[in-house]
Structures are given as structure tokens and as C-alpha cells.
Point group: none
Chain length 156, copies 2
Amino acid sequence: MKRASRMVLIEKIVSENIVTSQEDLLRMMEGKGVQCTQATLSRDLRQMGISRGFDGSGGYRYLLPGKREETAELFPGREMEAITGMTWAHGLLLINTPPGFASAVAIKIDRSGRYEIAGTVAGDDTILLIPRDNISNEAVEECLTTIFLSNTKTQL
Amino acid sequence: MKRASRMVLIEKIVSENIVTSQEDLLRMMEGKGVQCTQATLSRDLRQMGISRGFDGSGGYRYLLPGKREETAELFPGREMEAITGMTWAHGLLLINTPPGFASAVAIKIDRSGRYEIAGTVAGDDTILLIPRDNISNEAVEECLTTIFLSNTKTQL
DNA sequence: ATCCAGAGTGCAAATTTATACATTTTTTAA
DNA sequence: TTAAAAAATGTATAAATTTGCACTCTGGAT
């Protein structure tokens, strides 16, 4: 199991469960058939920016890095309609939107916290999406599908 | 010293300093003439929602709630703190910052006039840094260190 | 093919944080 | 004021996280 895919799983587990400790996470990972040590998780979590916070009821839990308030004026679940085109070039994905919609869509992508996506830069009607190294185009497109489709089918 | 006023001091210290551990905080509190134990700080911090996060340069620090990704004010000489993460992909360097800080940091990079850096593109919270051809990642990172650490000896 | 450099990992030790329990301090109610 | 109840804190310890070190693996360069 490679680091990148392990991280993808970590992100998924942390986003969908209340993870109270690294040992806790370790067990969940094993439940998914992925093995490593707690020390490795400590390092992964730091690299991913996932830190221990509070669950609001006195307990501790791990949280994905910074959520930010939604500035998009997109119809929930219909963000896909704001994407008018996509082109791959030099390993980068150029996403076209109607004028003014680029940052709204980019924010949604950024907030997904998907590990496969290193980051985005948004202009007015174009988004440059930079995948992490060694992530396939298909994986990135699957990410986008996951992000923008409400009925996400679970995989991995 | 009462709990409430101790908490006021904790908030002040955490917001104005890079606190890396509870022991660290304890010493700063003592420096302000307030004494308690690490156990008490642990309890105070939980109640205040102050959790341990990352400083963007591989280190740990305590962060006020809601300021999870925004702790870094763009104080002159402390721009490094506004860099919350960096990733290399496709020979390009993606720099993450708190929302809204990207262009401020990018301007600083542009003005440095470093040959190794061909240019930058800044979004809201992401900067795409394009190195010149045949410049190593390490060289670029050294550039950034030079740019941001040149006048940082006072703090951090 | 071989060597080298760097990334990644496990293990165990060190460090840091959380908590059980006892004690002290503060608050409440008379 | 005073007794009882509740809250806060310290101590000691447990639990959790981080890190130094050694080893492995991988990708390049010779």
C-alpha cells in the first residue's frame, strides 16, 4: 500500500467517522484492509494537516483542515452545471466555467480536501487544477465526480 | 488568579505567540506571573476549544478556534506564517495560505526578483509558483527561505 | 548491473497530553 | 456565618502522540 492511497483512505475515514485517536484510526484502517503503524499515521496526519480537535461535547476527534464559509452562489448539487468544459494539458486540468463562476467552483473543489488534488488556481472563468504527482487523470476526474454528485458511490 | 482571568491570558498568549506545547504555554504564563499546572491548562484549552494544529512548516502550535487556518497575520517579516502548506507537482510549487492571503504573499515573492522564480499566479488561498527551467526544487525552496527568513530573527 | 540519494516505515524511547482521585476553594441556601 | 454541594485544581499516572534511528525500498545516474 502506497503512501498516497493510504492518505486517501485516511481522508475518507476521518471525514466519515468520529476518529478519537490514532489507535482508533489504526483499527479502522485495518478494518479496510490497510496496515501500518500508529507512528506512520502520526506522520501522515501532520502532512495532511489533519489535527486533533474537539467534537463539541467534551470529546476529542480528528478534523480535516480548515473549512471556509461558502461564498458560492451555486445551486447545491448542481455545481456541475457551472462547468462548461475541461481540458488536460501538461498533466494539469483546465476547467472552464461561465464568467464569474470559477472561484465558486474552485472553492468547492478546495473544500473537498481530496488528497489527489494538490490545489487550484481560479481566474474569472477558468480554473487550473493541479493534481498531486503520480495521480492519474482518471483519479482526478473521479474526484470531481465525487465532489459534485450528491449520491456519491463509495469506492476504494 | 481565577479561572476566567487565566483563560483571558491564555487566549492572549496563544493569539500573539507560537505556542508549541502546554509546557511551553505554562512557562509563558509564569512569565506573566500566572501559575498553574499543565493539567489545568489541558482542561482550560479543551474548554476554550483551543487545539493543537500545524504551523505550516512542519511544526505544531496551538490555534484559537475558528482561526484554525487564519492565525497568521501578515506581519512584516512573518509572512512565513501565512504559508500553511507547500506541494510540488509537475515541477510547479503550490503554496497554500489562509483565505485571502495568497496575493499578499505572492507579491512579496514577485518583488524579491529572484532569478530562480519565473513568476507566480495567485488565487485566493493558493499560489502557483513557476520556477525557471532547470532550477531544482531545492533551489526554489532556498529562495523562499531567503525571501521570508531574511528579517525573521526577532520572532518565531 | 551497481551504486547512491532520498523517501518511507517500523520500532522503541521520549515527549506531550489527558484523567482518576484526593484535596482545596468557591458557591449556595438556610 | 455555616454546612453542604459544586467547581476547580494539583498530583501522580495513564494514555496518546511524536521522534531518533536503523532499515528498506525505489528511482536515477554512472
